[in-house]
């Protein structure tokens, strides 16, 4: 009966997981095969099982493809950008030449803990086409003002820039930890072996950071696939759906229009995509 005692002790945790995780996820999965909406909420008799229609409709919905395209755009450009900025900041802070490291570390981390709404308000001013600091700076080098958030071409880059600024501090801390775990003697060995600064970075820092890169890459990618708050606050998915993300689309379906069946289907499609890309990333990393 020893196994029984074991189950007895893990039972509370299992129960909590079952109630707050397994059950909701399973319900959501079932929900994605129904047309649960405002009518069904009023009268459950109006609920229909629609099989995989939600998924079929989703794949036939141009807005979904737009949202998916935008999300991939955001992940493909914003992810690497944010990781590179994080790495750059971590290298700067880790440099022996830099003073006031703690101050810089705190300052760079501040955007991460600042509420997005406050950040959004600030960036809306920076992006203002007529009075914004960004366009003012660009005009200094002779570039015509850009309507950052109003122009469908520029809206996503603007969101990416803001998201990278908002989030790089988090990865920077992880990179810093990674950098600090590289033994000094490796750099010394490399220097004695004739490596200049670039070589040290290329042959010591980068390969030694590979596990950190994998972690940061996957975490960032998963987070970036769930792009929501930035466009929700800054552009509401506009202009012309240019910043509509999958999660924002899901939010609209689920909580604005109360089409929970559709929303659940979107959630599972997104889940499968994230899972697939994560596996791909792990695989690529392992092959190297």
């Amino acid at each position: 009966m020893r196994w029984a005692a074991g189950y007895f002790f893990v039972a509370p945790a299992l129960l909590l997981i079952a109630v707050f995780f397994v059950f909701p996820v399973f319900s959501a999965f079932l929900l994605s095969f129904t047309d649960f909406d405002i009518y069904s909420l009023g009268n459950i008799e109006y609920l229909r099982f629609v099989g995989i229609d939600n998924y079929i409709n989703l794949f036939g919905n141009s807005r979904f493809w737009t949202a998916l395209g935008n999300t991939f755009y955001f992940v493909a450009v914003g992810g690497p950008l944010s990781v590179l900025v994080s790495l750059g900041a971590a290298l700067l802070i880790n440099s022996k030449l830099v003073r006031l490291k703690t101050l810089f570390r705190t300052v760079y981390f501040l955007p991460v803990v600042t509420t997005l709404v406050a950040v959004a308000v600030m960036w809306r001013y920076l992006y203002h086409p007529r009075y914004g600091l960004l366009n003012f700076a660009l005009s200094g080098i002779g570039i015509e003002p850009i309507d950052w958030l109003g122009d469908p071409f520029w809206a996503m880059p603007a969101i990416i820039l803001m998201a990278a600024w908002k989030n790089f501090g988090y990865n920077m801390i992880i990179f810093l930890a990674g950098l600090q775990s590289i033994p000094d003697s490796l750099y010394e060995a490399a220097r004695v072996d004739g490596a200049n600064r670039w070589h040290q970075f290329r042959y010591v820092t980068l390969p030694m950071l590979a596990p950190t890169f994998l972690f940061v890459g996957i975490i960032t990618m998963i987070g970036y696939f769930q792009l929501f708050a930035e466009p929700y606050v800054m552009t509401q998915g506009g202009p012309s759906n240019a910043t509509l993300s999958v999660v924002l689309f899901m939010y609209e379906e689920g909580f604005r229009w109360w089409n929970l069946g559709n929303a659940a289907a979107i959630a599972f499609v997104l889940f499968v995509i994230i899972l697939a890309v994560t596996l791909l990333q792990l695989r690529l990393q392992r092959e190297r």
Binding site: I38, Y39, L41, N43, W258, A267
Partner: protein, 433 residues
């Protein structure tokens, strides 16, 4: 998917905790949800109501407008609805479909203070679904034109035009007089209200066959749409969208544009934000289509074209145990005197006509435009899907303004999308017949 569950649990806990604060026996407590500014202002009126009705206690909960719709739906899903609540009158069909709101029939019929002419007809109609009354208008809202009288004068116009063609001419002249960097009118590119108003003025029904299908390929809708798009295409309105205008009032004051279409709250806002410039701006009812007598508009400017019947209503939760007490409060808030007080507190326009006359709002030049406009209102289709359809109209409007779609493509896709949204409605109608 987890979040709503947790949220409703927390909410239920909150309700439980709140419910514990020593309710006195024989005293009825009703919960009242009101939104934004209204939620704050109404507390004063509620205090007087409580004084008049010592056996009733009213707990007012103030909810931000941006979260209100979701919060009501979540409360319904979590069985935590208040007894009495405010709601945007276009939301009513949704809550009727849910069975969340009580019928007002007998109360309204028996009330000596309320008859067919008490409220503006267009607004009163939004509270009636399939012949049944579910809410009482609290305040009204519609859209009309705010304009810079000095800029119009400079372009050679002393009064605001009453017809589309005259309106268009005014805009062209204004544009000529302000030059390339400024505009005649500001229109948000993703907006659905103005195209919809223009289409309703043309007599377009928006939906067809008992609201089973979209009717956006209707030539009347198309005519309105063309007129609207023409304003962007011909440079009368900036086509770059809302982000150019960080501060509407500032830009209006700077003369970046001479007109915009908006609602009554901007009377107060403009007074407040443009101090000392009150002589420079005015309001005017929506112009009507040319020769539109037959289409529900006025004859060549004598009567305004129709506009949206907006505003907020008060409704009672069907599951409430204190419906009678809640009705007492609604009646109180809809009384002539309270409507007037409410207007002074919030700037919202009273839903009761006699409150307008009593407070002279129908004579004051800026509100007079609203008085005239409020006589000419049309409700949007009273179906739960309307909000979503409206947003979709806005989206396709934007796509055409930005030239990513032609008008033909946009209207065809709009019909297609709307038909898909109405699939459930068609199924329900077929099922219940």
């Amino acid at each position: 998917m987890i979040q709503p569950t947790i949220r409703s649990i927390c909410f239920a806990l909150l309700i439980l905790l709140c419910g514990c604060d020593g309710e006195i026996k024989d005293k009825v407590t009703i919960d009242f949800w009101a939104f934004g500014r209204e939620g704050e202002a109404v507390q004063e009126l509620v205090r007087d109501f409580e004084a008049e009705h010592p056996h009733i206690r009213v707990r007012v909960q103030q909810i931000p407008w941006s979260a209100a719709h979701e919060k009501l739906l979540t409360a319904y899903a979590g069985d935590a609805m208040p007894d009495l609540f405010q709601l945007g009158n276009t939301w009513l069909p949704e809550f009727v479909a849910l069975g969340a709101v009580a019928e007002f029939g007998p109360w309204v019929r028996d009330d000596p203070d309320i008859d067919d002419d008490t409220f503006f007809a267009g607004v009163a109609a939004t509270n009636v679904i399939d012949g049944v009354v579910y809410g009482l208008p609290w305040y009204v809202d519609t859209r009309l034109v705010f304009y810079r009288s000095d800029m119009l004068e400079k372009a050679g116009f002393k009064t605001f035009p009453g017809t589309w063609s005259a309106w268009r001419e005014v805009m062209e002249r204004v544009k000529e007089s302000v030059g390339p960097d400024k505009y005649a009118i500001f229109l948000p590119v993703e907006d659905w209200t103005i195209p919809t108003i223009l289409a309703m003025q043309q007599g377009a029904s928006l939906l067809a066959d008992e609201d089973r299908y979209g009717a956006f390929d209707d030539p009347r809708f198309r005519e309105a749409f063309d007129f609207y798009l023409g304003l962007f295409r011909d440079g009368l309105a900036p086509s770059s969208g809302g982000s150019q205008v960080a501060n509407l009032y500032q830009e209006f004051s700077n003369g970046y544009f001479a007109m915009f279409v908006s609602g009554p709250w901007n009377i107060g806002e403009l007074k407040h934000r443009l101090p000392g410039k009150e002589h420079l701006w005015a309001t005017a009812p929506m112009p009507a289509p040319d020769g539109a007598a037959a289409k529900g508009g006025g004859v060549d400017g004598a009567t305004p074209g129709v506009s949206l019947a907006g505003g907020a209503s008060l409704a009672i939760h069907d599951g409430s145990e204190h419906k009678d007490e809640a009705w007492l409060l609604i009646r109180y808030l809809s009384g002539t005197e309270q409507q007037e007080r409410f207007h002074h507190l919030t700037g919202n326009l009273p839903a009761r006509k006699d409150s307008w006359i009593a407070s002279g709002l129908d004579k004051e030049p800026r509100t007079r435009a609203f008085w005239r406009q409020l006589q000419q209102m049309a409700p949007t289709p009273p179906i739960p899907e309307w909000e979503r359809i409206a947003r979709t109209i806005g989206r396709y409007t934007e796509a055409t303004v930005r030239n990513t779609m032609t008008v033909d493509e946009a209207l065809a896709s709009l019909d297609e999308d709307v038909d898909r949204m109405l699939e459930k409605r068609r199924w329900l109608l077929a099922r219940d017949q």
